[in-house]
């Protein structure tokens, strides 16, 4: 091994240390540069390593003077600066360029949901005020129609005892005519009383832990829709809850969804049982 330059072909066969030289190809049309290297691992096996590198050329126009200024020596307080106490840091958080107009576009939708929220939570006097106004307007319209003879005599309100179908035409209100909110979403012939109706949207939650509070239930059930009432049974003597609660939803669909999602849901180490509340026995 005195000099590699004078290697003869016979020697190369014996010389296992000798590896082919590494080759660099490219970059080709796709900007891929290929580097092939040969090396040996600790066991003495010869290995071939191919590395492909994508070469991207970024063109940037810089003023000639700016390039010179880059090499200016630092002065004043900056001269004493070390990388450790640098006054410049790059922010860790990604700061977005927040689009403002997008929000504006959806204000219409927002208004719609706002009304529902208001109905569910806000000041009752505000809502009842607007509803009264609306009802008054509707009544006036009907009066007008009746005066013109375009509308039949006013339907009788349902009987207080809740006998189904006691009023004429109650089961199937005319299309387009006003239906009070309490009678909406009702199948034909479903003329139960308000009390009954309320129980329809009531669900019973059992197997609650003792630590559960009404606030926790609010948190748990609110996501499914507007909740009109939450009743947590509390032991009069101990003050602890008795492990069950009733939740009333404004809409039956929401109650249905809550049951489907929360029945069997693990809450506070216990598995909840959520079902439709049994209608109270007639007294």
């Amino acid at each position: 091994m005195a000099s590699r330059g004078k290697l003869r072909w016979g020697d190369t066969l014996d010389d296992e240390d000798l590896l082919p030289p590494s080759v660099t190809k490219g970059p080709d049309d796709n900007g891929i540069k290929t580097v092939i290297e040969y090396y040996k691992n600790e066991k003495g096996d010869a290995l071939k390593k191919t590395t492909k590198i994508k070469v991207v050329t970024v063109e940037k126009k810089v003023y000639k003077v700016s390039e010179e200024r880059r090499n200016w020596p630092r002065f004043g307080g900056a001269a004493k600066e070390t990388p450790q106490d640098s006054v410049t840091v790059q922010g860790i958080d990604e700061i977005p360029f927040e689009r403002v107009r997008q929000i504006k576009a959806t204000t219409q939708e927002k208004k719609a949901t706002d009304i529902q929220q208001v109905l569910a939570t806000a000041d009752k006097t505000v809502i009842s005020g607007s509803i009264k106004e609306m009802l008054y307007k509707k009544r006036m319209e009907r009066e007008l129609l009746r005066a013109k003879g375009l509308l039949k005599e006013a339907e009788k309100p349902p009987e207080e005892d809740g006998k189904p179908g006691s009023g004429p035409g109650l089961g199937a209100p005319k299309a387009g005519s006003y239906v009070p909110p309490s009678l909406r979403n009702r199948g034909p012939g479903d003329g139960e009383s308000m009390q009954k109706k309320r129980e329809d949207n009531s669900i019973r939650v059992t197997n609650l832990s003792e630590d559960v509070t009404e606030g926790d239930l609010q948190e748990l059930f609110r996501p499914f829709g507007a909740v009109s009432r939450i009743f947590l049974a509390v032991d009069k003597n101990t003050g602890e809850n008795r492990g069950f609660a009733f939740v009333n939803y404004v809409h039956r669909d929401d109650a249905d969804r809550a049951i489907r999602n929360l029945n069997g849901f693990g809450y506070d180490n216990l598995i909840l049982r959520v079902e439709w509340a049994q209608p109270r026995e007639a007294k």
Binding site: V62, Y63, V65, S66, R69, R70, W72, R74, F75, G76, G77, A78, A79, E81, S86, V87, T88, V89, Q90, G91, I92, D93, E94, I95, P96, F97, E98, R99, V100, R101
Partner: protein
Amino acid sequence: MRPYLLKGHERPLTQVKYNREGDLLVSCAKNLQPCLWSAEDGRRIGTYEGHNGAIWTCDITWDSDRLITGSADQTVRIWDLPTGKELFQIRHREPCRAVKLSAGERFLAATSDAFIESPPAIHIYKFAENIEDQTATAAIEWTVPKGRVTRVFWTDCNRKLITSHDGGILRRWDVETGALLQEQQVHEDAIQDMQMSPDETHVITASLDKTARLIDVDTFEVMKTYKTGRFVQSAAISPLFDHVVMGGGQDASQVTTTAAQAGGFEARFFHKIFQEEFGRVRGHFGPINTVAFHPSGKSFTTGGEDGYVRLHHMDMDYFTTKFF
């Protein structure tokens, strides 16, 4: 985007300014040392040491070899920009509020605040090419009506000056005689900042009446009004798009009494023509005192009451998105 946070000043910022090419950035604050930064990566290149009061304003020469600063220590100083050496000192008897070099850089306009008995004034100095020839005596100076002069610009081939004032007033002056040529009430409250458009046909003014306005330089006609609903401390015009950016927020004395979100400390982007807001960039936790656009329009810098300078390089989507 991930902005660079430049913590060179512990005190509220007063002005940030790019040089012509946009590779350097100078920041002035209420502490004593203005800083020179690399506008690319925010590296601090140097500090200018010598002032003895808050630095209100600065200006950079065309070829970035001199820096002029105006300070509350009643001096205007000329610095060698690359080395930080103080070359000359013009001593006033009043705090200096605004400085501006004329086109061609033969003259320097400096404004001073009212102080003890002296009323606010505008001083014009010869700006010597050789620093040995520089004099501290004004070529001409004249007093102005009561109220602070916040910014000054040379217009009409150096024949006239326009100044913005405390009371929401813009004034035009004849440089040779110091005569008042025009006076226009454009804002209801103090104009905090005025910046020239790249083509020097219009200026944007930022005011405490919670608006920024685009004003024609020749007529002082208000062309556009940008309503923000909070104090506007500074506004800048994009050299690239029809965008303007403005910074501000609630009054500094109110900041600690309300939640950070209520302050409205974001940099807000408005469309220059439609006067409609389309974007916001948050980050400061105090009012923004000064904003500046990079001469390419591809990045912008804000300086806040919180003592931070934030250097933002715009993400690709800012250039590709159709905002309108």
